[in-house]
Amino acid sequence: MSEPTRNRTVLVLLDPATEVRSSALELLTIARGLGRVEAVTLEAPTVEVLAQLGAYGVETVHQAEVPTGVLRDAGGDGALHLPSVVAATLASAVRRTDADVVLAPATFGAKEAAALAAHALGAGLVIDAAAVGEDADGRVVAGKRVFAGAWDTRCAVTADVAILTVRANAVVPEPAEAPVATEVDALPVELPAGTAGVVVTSREVKERTSGRPSLEEAAVVVAGGRGTGGDFGAVEEFADAVGAAVGASRDAVFEGWFDRYIGQTGVTIAPRLYVGAGISGAPHHRGGMQASQVIVAVNSDPEAPIFEICDFAVVGDLTDVLPQAAAAIRAHREG
């Protein structure tokens, strides 16, 4: 990794602070290339989290101290992750550390928090960067894939502070050369008036139990569509053979066959490998996966539009093709 040319302070948003997802490790890796890295959290990081942060070169974690009265009025602990609260925390952390750059993951909540923090600070904002670097003048430069991954754009941040959300799979996470000791520093957060008013009246956290990698972060994703006819068995069997996350098309989700869909309005992914089975490849779906490195499809229709953007494709019935492929891969792995 090249040494940063400037003595920057880079803050990385870690929310929740109970686990370090691979997207967070990527942010820390990118941050080290830009300057000195510190983390920002809304709650106390666990011991495991602190150890991982240390391995990635984070010396200081700024843990928000949100006034309890404000939090209670907004619905209690559930309100801690409201974008307005996260934004106020980021803005406080930037002011306190005089940070130059903030990096956040590309979730909807983090995007809003990043935007609101940039609004409060007069910072420049980049949403969903796929690459982050600097130009000869030391300005932060971001690369983005747009129009369903069909165009590459680059922009430079011209304001003093740069706030960026970064897509998963932008870089391969790399620990620091030597681990450091990580300290937690209390960060007093003041919530600006005006954002008040939103109250969280109920919040049920979703369990991540499947044992598979998460859709937005997985290096390999297998997706099923209407062509499964409602049975995701072959899709899941194949996904497990290759260690992939499972996703779906919006139609499959609207049918109630699966819970999360890939696409412009669903999860946007850019894994190393995407395999679409029984998915036609509508523009809305492509918008969320076309930036994948390698695209493979299984579809019984030789005219399926998804074939236009594939690297490898099988014209066939997914209930024949996927189990056979899964068996061959399992045999290869064991052999």
Partner: protein
């Protein structure tokens, strides 16, 4: 009840979308109403549809866009769905606006509407503009107006001056409330947008579109457009085409061929 729906004019995702000089090409041949704003329009119209007749008569839905003149396409479509009034904010100084410039202009448009004395109870937006997929303008409009914003609603209720929203994020299922006036963005899962009927389509052709300049609505020119932008576009280039697809027709060995491809390319 007075509702403003922010609608964006974007290139159709089914068309060839491109950049010209680092700006999204909004050639009228491919320009259209951002599809996700149809969900916002539908949400607004449903709130009004649920009102008693006399209250409905005293209410309005205003479609508001920040766009060059071609943006009328988006407003005509809004008329077809049933909005009462349409306003376009157009000015050379707005060209090259970033998210903040756009939010500033939208908020100024809302304030200008309110200068006639009737408050805007709700500003409703789509969940994202399909050209940039930012999903940040609604939160920023809330911040500009100093009003609470609730985003990505799946279920929307307005009663007794309170907005109640059900939503599904990747992390949680939530119910949120905010007092009116407020800002709301609706997800594509919130509703199925109505098809315009013949009468509305005919009427939309001749409905008047109001046009405001930056000066008309009190926008500081240095805060918007290229002058106010905090990022500078450096380049935009189409990606090289993918190599020709390797296509296998399954005659009993398709799965094995797939496995071999993945193994050969070290993808598994």
């Amino acid at each position: 009840m007075r509702i403003v729906v922010a609608v964006k004019y974007v290139p159709d995702i089914n068309a060839e979308r491109r950049f010209v000089d680092c700006r999204v090409d909004r050639d009228p041949g491919v320009g259209t109403l951002n599809e996700l704003d149809e969900n916002a329009l539908e949400a607004a119209l449903r709130i009004l549809d649920a009102l008693p007749e006399d209250e409905r008569a005293a209410s309005e839905v205003v479609a508001l866009t920040v766009a060059p003149a071609d943006g009328d396409v988006a407003l005509r479509k809004s008329f077809q769905m049933g909005v009462d009034r349409a306003v376009r904010v157009t000015d050379d100084v707005l060209a090259g606006s970033d998210y903040f410039g756009t939010a500033t202009a939208l908020a100024a448009g809302v304030r200008r509407l309110e200068s006639d004395g009737a408050p805007v109870d709700l500003v409703i937006t789509g969940m994202a503009a399909l050209d940039g997929l930012g999903s940040v303008v609604p939160a920023l409009v809330g911040a500009e107006l100093g009003r609470p914003a609730i985003t990505l609603a799946k279920k929307v209720d307005v009663a007794d001056g309170v907005l109640t929203v059900g939503r599904e994020t990747d992390e949680a299922s939530e119910t949120l409330t905010a007092p009116l006036p407020a800002v709301l963005s609706v997800a594509d899962t919130a509703n199925t947008p109505r098809m315009p009927n013949f009468k509305l389509i005919m009427a939309a052709r001749t409905k008047q579109i109001e046009q405001w300049s930056a000066a008309d609505i009190g926008i500081d020119p240095s805060a918007v457009g290229t002058a106010g932008a905090r990022t500078e576009a450096l380049s935009a280039a189409p990606r090289p085409a993918r190599a020709e697809v390797e296509l296998v027709v399954d005659k009993g060995e398709g799965g094995t061929a797939l496995a071999e491809y993945l193994i050969r390319n070290e993808l598994v």
